[in-house]
Amino acid sequence: MAEEIKPDRKVRRSLAQFRELNVLLAFLLLFIFFYSQSPKVFLKPANLAVIMRFIATFGMLSIGEVLIIITGGIDLSVGSLTALTGVIVATLMLKGFGGMPTIGMLPAIIIVLCIGTLFGLWHGFFVTKLRIPPFIITLGTWLIAKGLAALITHGYPIVYPSESSFLVLGQGSLFGIPISFIILVIFASLVSIILNRSRLGYRIYAVGGNAEASRLSGVNVDRVKLFCYGTSGFMAATTGILLASRLGQGTPTVGSAYELWAIAGAVIGGTSLLGGEGTILGAILGAAIVGTMQNGMVLLNVSSYLQDVVLGTVLVVAVVYDTLRRRRK
């Protein structure tokens, strides 16, 4: 039965399985549209770099979000964590905590990545061991992290001197491609390989599809979820560091509503909020759509209020379309 598939059917099937095709097409259309609207600016290397940095920010957060949403959860904390981790990295490097001496870039980054990961694991602990809904526990962190960021800085940004080598991460480019975008590609590939090829990835999808059946199949469901929440925290910290570098400061006001953009990116990219389905590629493309639209609308001088209206509409249309497509199948 399985072997008798004719070649042309095989091609069609693999095309059909390339679920991100729609998202990719949507992205390309969008890209062409904005290009046609402002042909002089849009394709300029400087502007492309801006778009790529946008994509890097949301894409990074979307990676963690996809992992968690696949398991049937949600992470509302990442926006605030971005602010908190950005503030911490700046404090560690420029001021020192509570009179302690400042530390170098590398140790500061490592410490902040650990803090982000610990926040993620903390969510995982509540979700798995205490069965607290992910919505609630990450909403708690959303507030806590926001508050902590403001407390640490007393509300003022901690500004890097303009010659700091730290700024290369968020502002520098390699062969014309922003470093932050390269970092995104590396992480996205890594997590993609984990999801598609590793047994951990197989288990992540299974847990999202049916946690009880997975448990009874010998899957350590808690460990799988801990991995996903931990990774999301790690990604939030990475984003926080890159943003601090891009802005040249650790500021508590950054990252507001980023969790929602990240979730939107994941959902536009085909991740099912019911769990069990979603891909990194889709989420990155979703983030690319979000990033491109934000940039394009700025170029077109669309008011920021209208921008929100447009983005919200796109989100709804994408989800409705995806739901209908799924139902037809």
Binding site: R13, S198, R199, L200, Y202, R203, A213, L216, N220, G276
Partner: protein, 519 residues
């Protein structure tokens, strides 16, 4: 009387069928589920619909009940053409159905489920405003529950009920609406002997009220007990119709599989050794299991018999680490093992085919391949990366061995027929090479041919020296397959019977909590 071709049996010439299906077809991607089938059901009769797994039985029933739309063909009820667009409409027309896979909302209580979507409203204005008459609902559902022989309360949450109990809720739900036709898609597959008897009494009663009953089952003896006519489907086509009183089992099986099948699937291994592979000591779970002690030998098939709710499933789950135990030791090959979760059970060499295939056995939205691979990922991967070639090969082997009917390994199990889903659950655990294999109602809903196949595989496994524990509510099955039988009652092991001295009567005696006189 077997008639080939379309048309009624002579006996029915003077009767007009209540429900007529003519030339109905239905295709799914890659599968022609139904190909111009005909079907008739008469008032006051039980019409059995038979066929192998994937023959198209449930598909036709779902068309009748408005879940699917037929690609072509006509359906008429009492001579009037109907085209139910959804289950609600079908119910209004008088067709109600007990689905093969339960259709209950797990987090709600029993009576809410029974009236789901048809809640009786309070009389008067309040009712018009949408207020539900919960007093009436409770009273009426109580009546229905006692009618179907249920012994649990109205207020229990459905996900706390056993599979058999959920089936009773489904039956009560079908009885709650006035119907002309009641479709029962494998209603007995989850039931024990006692519950089946109750169900058959209900069916007799409905028959005498002039309802047409459509009854799907894989247990032939039930056909002879309850059905008047049997219609057989094969590969989505109408394969024949018989009057049950004049037919033989061989005839019916012949129609089902298209050839004669050797039904002498007696289990003939003489492998049971004295080596103890599994030893269970003082297993206790408060209020559920009391002092469970037994040994399982290498190469032995140990049957666990008992009524629904006797604690068989609970024993299996406790052994497998699916439920917490309060006390007890488990030894595998003489070494004590700490089983705190299914994960550690699998590592210790245990495997459990659970009773609920859709809720516990399968990740429905995933493919056949992924489902079979899931418990075997360690074995199928190298350096944490899954070897997809090897996976495909192992999966394909079991799909072939168990004759799982699927257009491809990439088909989501959601789209397989009930019996084929069960085979996928079996496959994933058979592939896992356990030391001890625990099977909870393993042949539930699978056809005669596949059953023989499963027994065959069980035989091979015990030949290789693994120990098998099998829970089954099918008495003939447990008698034919087991080397030894433990009978449970209210969470205790009441007694042990050997292959030589086990009889239905003795099992029933123990299962109802009585002590056997000396054998």
């Amino acid at each position: 009387m077997i008639e080939n071709g379309v048309g009624n049996l002579d006996q029915n010439m003077n009767e007009v069928p209540m429900l007529t299906v003519k030339g109905v077809s239905k295709a799914f991607p890659g599968v022609q589920a139904l190909d111009k089938v005909n079907f008739e059901a008469f008032a006051g009769q039980v019409t059995a619909l038979l066929g192998e797994n994937g023959a198209g039985k449930s598909t036709l029933m779902k068309i009748l009940s408005g879940v699917y739309k037929a690609d072509e063909g006509d359906i008429s009820l009492n001579g009037v053409k109907i085209q139910p667009q959804n289950p609600h409409q079908a119910q209004d027309l008088g067709i109600s159905i007990i689905y093969q896979e339960f259709n209950l909302t797990p987090n709600q209580n029993v009576f809410t489920n029974i009236f789901l979507g048809r809640e009786p409203m309070i009389k008067g204005l309040l009712g018009k405003l949408g207020f539900v008459d919960s007093v009436h609902m409770r009273q009426y559902s109580n009546k229905l529950l006692s009618q179907v022989g249920a012994r649990f309360s109205n207020d229990r949450l459905v996900n706390n009920l056993s599979v058999a109990e959920q089936q009773m809720v489904e039956i009560a739900k079908a009885l709650s609406v006035k119907s002309k036709v009641i479709i029962m898609d494998e209603p007995t597959s989850a039931l024990g002997k006692e519950e089946v008897k109750v169900l058959f009494d209900i069916i007799q009663d409905l028959k005498s009220q002039g309802l047409a009953i459509i009854f799907i089952t894989h247990r032939l003896e039930e056909v002879f007990e309850i059905a008047d006519r049997a219609i057989v489907f094969r590969d989505g086509r109408w394969a024949g119709e018989v009057k049950v009183a004049e037919a033989t089992a061989e005839q019916i099986i012949g129609l089902m599989v298209g050839r004669a099948l050797d039904r002498s699937q007696v289990h003939e291994h003489v492998m049971a050794t004295q080596d103890v592979v599994l030893k269970v000591q003082n297993l206790n779970r408060k209020g559920v299991l009391h002092d469970i002690n037994f040994e399982l030998h290498r190469g032995e098939i140990l049957g666990l018999a008992g009524l629904v709710g006797a604690g068989r499933t609970e024993t299996a789950r406790a052994l497998f680490g699916a439920d917490r135990i309060d006390k007890g030791e488990i030894f595998i090959n003489g070494k004590q093992v700490e089983i705190v979760s299914p994960d550690s059970a699998v590592k210790a060499g245990l495997a459990l085919v659970p009773e609920g295939r859709q809720t516990q056995g399968l990740v429905l939205i995933q493919t056949v391949e992924r489902n079979i691979a899931l418990p075997n990922l360690d074995m199928l991967s190298h350096n944490a990366i899954v070897n997809q070639g090897k996976m495909r090969q192992v999966v394909q082997n079991y799909v072939t061995a168990l004759n799982i009917r699927t257009p491809s390994l990439e088909q989501r199990v959601l789209n397989l027929s009930g019996g084929n889903q069960q085979k996928v659950v079996l496959a994933k655990w058979l592939a896992s090479n356990p030391k001890v294999l625990i099977l909870d109602e393993p042949t539930r809903g699978i056809d005669v041919g596949a059953k023989a196949e499963v027994y065959e595989i069980m035989n091979e496994l015990v030949q290789q020296g693994i120990g098998v524990i099998m829970i089954s509510s099918e008495m003939p099955e447990i008698l034919a397959i087991s080397d030894r039988i433990l009978v449970m009652y209210e969470g205790r092991i009441m007694g042990e019977l050997t292959r030589a001295n086990a009889t239905q009567e003795r099992i029933m005696t123990l299962a109802s909590g009585k002590v056997l006189e000396a054998i």
